[in-house]
């Protein structure tokens, strides 16, 4: 930020050699004459309780006039000790904990922890369960991106996309409620299967959603993408090059917006994602505008995956039929002695895992969500580590925000798409 000096001078009654009035220069810019007069830095708190911090994040911002000199983020204001609680829970009891970490994409978190537990125990899930889990992950991606779209557009001044986005979210909430009984805290998966099979009305409603959802996306696209204010506020703001993105271990839309084509669904496929036909949007210059375009395009792609998943939904059991892992149905448990014993052992002692450890990373809407279980043979994990994509993406905000205006800092903070439940765990 260069200090600009303004040369002002005042004509005095005297005359110089050429007879012109003698001009006496006035030190116009105080900063040159007396740096102390230039104004010290102002320290403000974009504190835990702030409409633009998307949760209880706290940014201590050092300002010079309007320009951000430095941003010091403080997190931990929603630290709820999930990993400590995980060590006191059976594997199936950990699933309800996971909806509360990233509460914008609850089903995707349930699938993540179930995949890690099944990888630890070496369980192969049924094809119908695989497709249903893909449906769950893609629905979570849509509602998470819709919340991001709504709140970011509010931050930058556009209120209507928030209402459009939340109207579509309510439709997915209805589907989630139909499937699991809860709008938000779904606790969908169990080790080796799912909570319940989808009701028939679910398939028709989801089909109808996939047909009408792109219209709302087109409206949001038409309102925002070529909107002069939106473009002006987001283009080449908070730029991260591909090299910096990799060095800061970013993941998900943040990484892809900087031009690194890494998507867990394509590069380390799970749940049969390699058999689906979808493409991964990759940005060029890694600014806030590219992250918006990447996330908007991802909504379209998720919609395509949902349509394909509905076409190929095989019928058959949703749970693997291994009585040590999945509760026997109530009818058999009450009549058949062996089933009752399995039922009793599972409820009282939980599902035992072999000694060892397993890490399973999935493509969560925020980035690569990893669940790392270490087990010593008992039914409760020794260590449950959540690899938090939002936490790691947020760490780069001080690098992105230097030198920008304060209003750009709000746009950058919104573009990181943080959810504090996952950042603080």
């Amino acid at each position: 930020m260069s200090k600009r000096t303004v040369e002002l001078s005042v004509a005095t009654p005297g005359a110089d050699a050429h007879g012109d009035p003698l001009r006496v220069p006035i030190p116009a810019s105080p900063a040159d004459v007396d740096p102390e007069l230039g104004g010290e830095h102002l320290l403000i708190n974009l504190g835990p309780q702030h409409p633009a911090t998307h949760g209880v994040l706290r940014l201590v911002v050092e300002l010079e006039g309007e320009t951000v000199v430095r941003v010091i983020p403080h997190v931990g204001y929603l630290h709820s000790g999930f990993e400590k609680l995980g060590e006191y829970r059976h594997y199936n009891q950990i699933v309800p904990l996971t909806d509360r970490t990233d509460y914008l994409a609850p089903m995707s978190n349930n699938v993540g922890v179930a995949l890690a537990a099944e990888k630890l125990m070496g369980i192969e899930i049924t094809p119908r369960c695989q497709v249903l889990r893909v449906i769950a992950c893609e629905m979570s991606r849509i509602i998470s991106h819709l919340v991001w779209l709504g709140t970011t557009s509010i931050d930058l001044g556009a209120f209507t996309p928030f209402l459009w986005a939340f109207q579509q979210r309510e439709r997915i909430y209805n589907l989630q409620e139909m499937w699991t009984g809860a709008r938000l805290t779904t606790s969908l998966t169990r080790v080796g299967g799912l909570l319940a099979d989808v009701p028939d009305k679910f398939v028709t409603d989801l089909r109808e959603f996939t047909e009408t959802f792109p219209d709302t996306l087109d409206e949001i696209d038409r309102v925002l993408t070529r909107n002069a204010v939106w473009v002006g506020r987001t283009q080449n703001i908070g730029v991260l090059t591909a090299q910096e993105a990799i060095n800061y271990s970013l993941s998900g839309p943040m990484l892809r917006a900087s031009g690194v084509p890494w998507d867990m669904r394509k590069d380390k496929p799970y749940l049969g994602y390699e058999t689906y036909d979808f493409d991964v949007p990759v940005g060029e210059n890694g600014d806030v505008y590219d992250r918006f375009l990447v996330r908007l395009e991802e909504c379209y792609q998720s919609n395509r995956i949902l349509a394909q998943a509905l076409d190929r939904l095989p019928d058959g059991p949703i749970n693997v039929d291994d009585p040590r892992v999945i509760l026997p149905p109530k009818s058999r448990a009450m009549n058949d002695m062996e089933a009752m014993i399995y039922h009793f052992k599972q409820v009282m002692e939980g599902v035992k895992a072999p000694v060892g450890e397993a890490y399973a990373g999935i493509e969560n809407p925020k980035g690569e969500l990893g669940n790392y279980f270490v087990s010593d043979g008992t039914a409760k994990p020794v260590r449950w580590r959540i690899r938090p994509p939002a936490f790691i993406n947020l760490a780069s905000i001080s690098k992105m925000a230097e030198g920008h205006l304060l209003s750009d800092l709000i746009a950058i903070n919104a573009s990181v798409d943080i959810v504090m439940g996952e950042v603080d765990r």
Binding site: G47, P48, Q49, H50, P51, G55, V56, G76, Y77, L78, H79, S80, G81, K84, L85, E87, Y88, P96, L97, D99, R100, Y103, L104, V147, F162, L163, F166, Q167, R169, E170, Y173, R183, L184, T185, D376, T378, K380, M420, G421, D424
Partner: protein, 201 residues
Amino acid sequence: MKHLETVKGSDNWLTTKFTALVNWAVNQSRANSLWPMPFGTACCAIEFMATAASRFDLARFGMERQAFSPRQSDVLICAGRLPFKLAPVIRRIYDQMPQPKWVISMGACASTGGIFDNYAMVQGIDTVVPVDVYVPGCPPRPEGLLYGILMLHKKIKGEDLFDPSLRTEHLLNDKGLRLPPEQIDEISEPFGNSVHQFRSA
């Protein structure tokens, strides 16, 4: 006008009717234009946003204007769990709200610490700030929160304007707590399933 007839046992017909009228008028206007201070921390905040959005529409209850600063808000809605690191923040914001002010504790985690009976979580925000209405649920459905708000309306309409004890400012006592320590320990006792949280093996 149902509320007016319930005034009983008052000494003098004329004055009681007058105070009842003033009470009715002021409380009615207060209840129907509560500006919420959404102290949204966790999952309940998303459900609060869904309540404020177009389907469940908080605007029907005069709560259209969400005030994000304590200076212009009447009811502090603690939507979501409250870790210990956030306790001084909610205490400071509650103190900085002008009277008359109320607090709705939305969700099981705010009301009792919920499933987080561990080192990081305040076991119920009533150990930090006085709470008027507890809304159960994890998260409470938007209808649940709206019912909680209606109960707060009923409470406000029953308040007496001329009773100073309702509106006095209670700061932290000399020990730096809101309640005596033994009462806080008693409130934060583990109950239900979390009593069975044995060793971690």
